[in-house]
């Protein structure tokens, strides 16, 4: 049935949102998706396709109405220590320092303080923020704030990293830098990643597979295998194959958007 290295196994997933008076909208319909351990998957699609909802379902933040979502072989019924989320809005606690924010996820896990501190040190160094440990989020740039968000997620040592348009609120230069950093962090830690984005080049640059979702209701339209070599350095961005794949994803997406003129 399930291959041994399958870490996320979604079968026949259905999600409805109540719209009042007993009616509901189908947000996700018959989603089947399997992620291998250590795989980097992107979810991309027009707005309203339910990609963020799917991510939150995997995290256990949002309940679902049908089908099954198995994470590490267990049916998902709430947030768990094997998954950690990175938010588009960074979702940092403004009254905590960088260090305190990274510590947040460790606090309720009964980890001895000394060990927790060395974990925090390790991940702050990994995202290049050790010099800013005593700063507050309000004193940092957006890019740095998201580095804190990534360190916080890595610190709880999840097997799956769930990223909800993590670079969507950043400027193009910072975004490019952070993409390369994420690729490096991912290849060092070998986590599985589910990455929601609306940027075609970002999805292609980072992913092993790009899952294209169609809207209303959200369905898997197509899965694109990205056969670019790893590690992905900035040189990749100049390769014809990179451009070709990015163009292909855009063509598929454009087809959907044009077919549903209301979406633009």
């Amino acid at each position: 049935m399930t291959q041994p290295d399958t870490i996320i196994d979604i079968a026949g997933l259905v999600k409805r949102y109540p719209t009042g008076r007993g009616r509901s909208t189908l947000a996700l319909d018959q989603i089947d998706l399997r992620a291998r351990d250590g795989e980097f998957i992107s979810l991309i699609g027009p707005s309203g396709c339910g990609k963020t909802t799917l991510l939150k379902i995997i995290n256990g933040l949002v309940p679902y109405d049908g089908g099954s979502v198995r994470v590490n072989g267990k049916e998902c019924d709430g947030p768990g220590p094997d998954r950690a989320m990175v938010f588009q809005s960074f979702a940092l606690l403004p009254w905590r320092t960088v260090e305190g924010n990274v510590m947040f996820g460790l606090e309720s896990r009964g980890i001895p303080s000394k060990e927790a501190h060395s974990i925090v040190d390790h991940y702050l160094a990994m995202v290049g923020l050790d010099a800013f440990r005593d700063h507050y989020p309000g004193q940092l740039s957006g890019g740095m704030q998201q580095r804190v968000g990534i360190a916080r997620a890595l610190a709880v040592d999840p097997s799956i990293l769930l990223m909800d348009e993590p670079f969507g609120a950043l400027d193009a230069q910072t975004r490019t830098l952070l993409q390369s950093d994420l690729e490096r962090i991912w290849s060092e830690s070998r986590k599985s990643v589910v990455f929601v984005t609306h940027a075609m080049d970002e999805a292609v640059f980072l992913s092993d597979r790009v899952v294209i979702l169609s809207p209303r209701p959200g369905r898997i339209h197509e899965i694109v295998e990205v056969d670019l070599p790893r590690p992905r350095t900035d040189a990749i961005r100049g390769m014809p194959r990179f451009t070709e794949l990015t163009q292909y994803v855009w063509d598929v997406l454009r087809g959907m958007i044009v077919r549903e003129p209301g979406l633009v």
Partner: protein
């Protein structure tokens, strides 16, 4: 004539001092602060001067001058009559405020975090805020009598709606992303409540708790004046009966000054608490 001149000068100076404060908050520092203090002293001097001139000490019932009021204040204080009365009323205030907080803070937290609690209690809190509490006093008096406990209850009822609303608002205003983040990362409900919900709500809640004190003070005075009192209300009634306007003014001033000091203290405590637990 000299006073009028000072008035003009003070008026001319006040806006300048204000701009100074606004353009250089904190850092622009000492000079702005001194000028602000100077302006405040000058304006107080003008008000006192006008009051002194407007006062009429020829008959006891007339509007008293500053000097007569201060003399009454001194006499009432030296005899121990005013301090005793103030302390008597303050027992009502402090007990009522404490009970009010003990009810309002947990209620506000419950209403801010649970939809069921919100639905169940919001109508009562709204009603408490909407009706003039003074209209309920005869009812309370009929049920609970004229004693100390009724006065305390009045203070409690004045305290509850504002504190409850502020605490509930602060708690419920937790941004969705922070709520999701804490659910995603924290495995303990209590840890989430303590480290995220409570700290997010703190500034709003503390402001409500301070405003609650202002309302408790109003409640205390109303209880003193409308119920049988042994404190400020009793001496106020007595001296009003004696047509001694100087003493009445002195008592009123004592009440105002005490309220001002208490609220100032509350403001300091609020700032200190916020700086300590929410530095950013």
């Amino acid at each position: 004539m000299t006073e009028t001149l000072t008035a003009a000068q003070a008026k001319a100076r006040t806006p300048a001092a204000n701009t100074d404060d606004a353009t250089s908050p904190g850092s622009g520092g000492r000079r702005g602060t001194w000028r602000g203090a100077g302006a405040r002293i000058a304006s107080a001097a003008v008000v006192l001067a006008i009051w002194q001139v407007a006062g009429d000490d020829s008959r006891q019932i007339n509007f008293p001058t500053v000097t007569r009021t201060l003399r009454s204040l001194w006499d009432l204080t030296a005899s121990g009559e005013l301090p005793r009365a103030v302390w008597d009323s303050d027992q009502t205030l402090f007990l009522g405020y404490a009970i009010g907080l003990a009810v309002a803070v947990p209620l506000g937290l419950a209403m801010g975090t649970s939809r069921v609690f919100r639905a169940a209690f919001r109508p009562y809190v709204t009603v408490m805020m909407a009706i003039p509490m003074i209209a309920v006093i005869p009812v309370l008096q009929a049920i609970f009598g004229l004693g100390f406990s009724t006065r305390v209850l009045v203070v409690v009822l004045f305290t509850i709606p504002y504190v409850t609303t502020a605490v509930a608002t602060g708690t419920a205003s937790l941004p969705v992303d922070l709520a999701e983040m804490s659910r995603s990362f924290s495995r303990s409900r209590w840890h989430r409540f303590r480290t995220v919900v409570l700290l997010h709500a703190l500034p709003t809640a503390l402001t409500g708790i301070r405003l609650g004190l202002a309302h408790a003070l109003i409640g205390m005075i109303i209880a003193e004046l409308y119920l049988v009192s042994t404190g400020i209300g009793s001496i106020l009634t007595y001296y009003r009966g004696q047509f001694d306007a100087g003493a009445v003014f002195a008592i009123a001033i004592a009440v105002v000054v005490q309220g001002y000091l208490l609220l100032g203290l509350a403001r300091l405590a609020e700032r200190h608490a916020i700086r300590k637990v929410r530095p950013a």
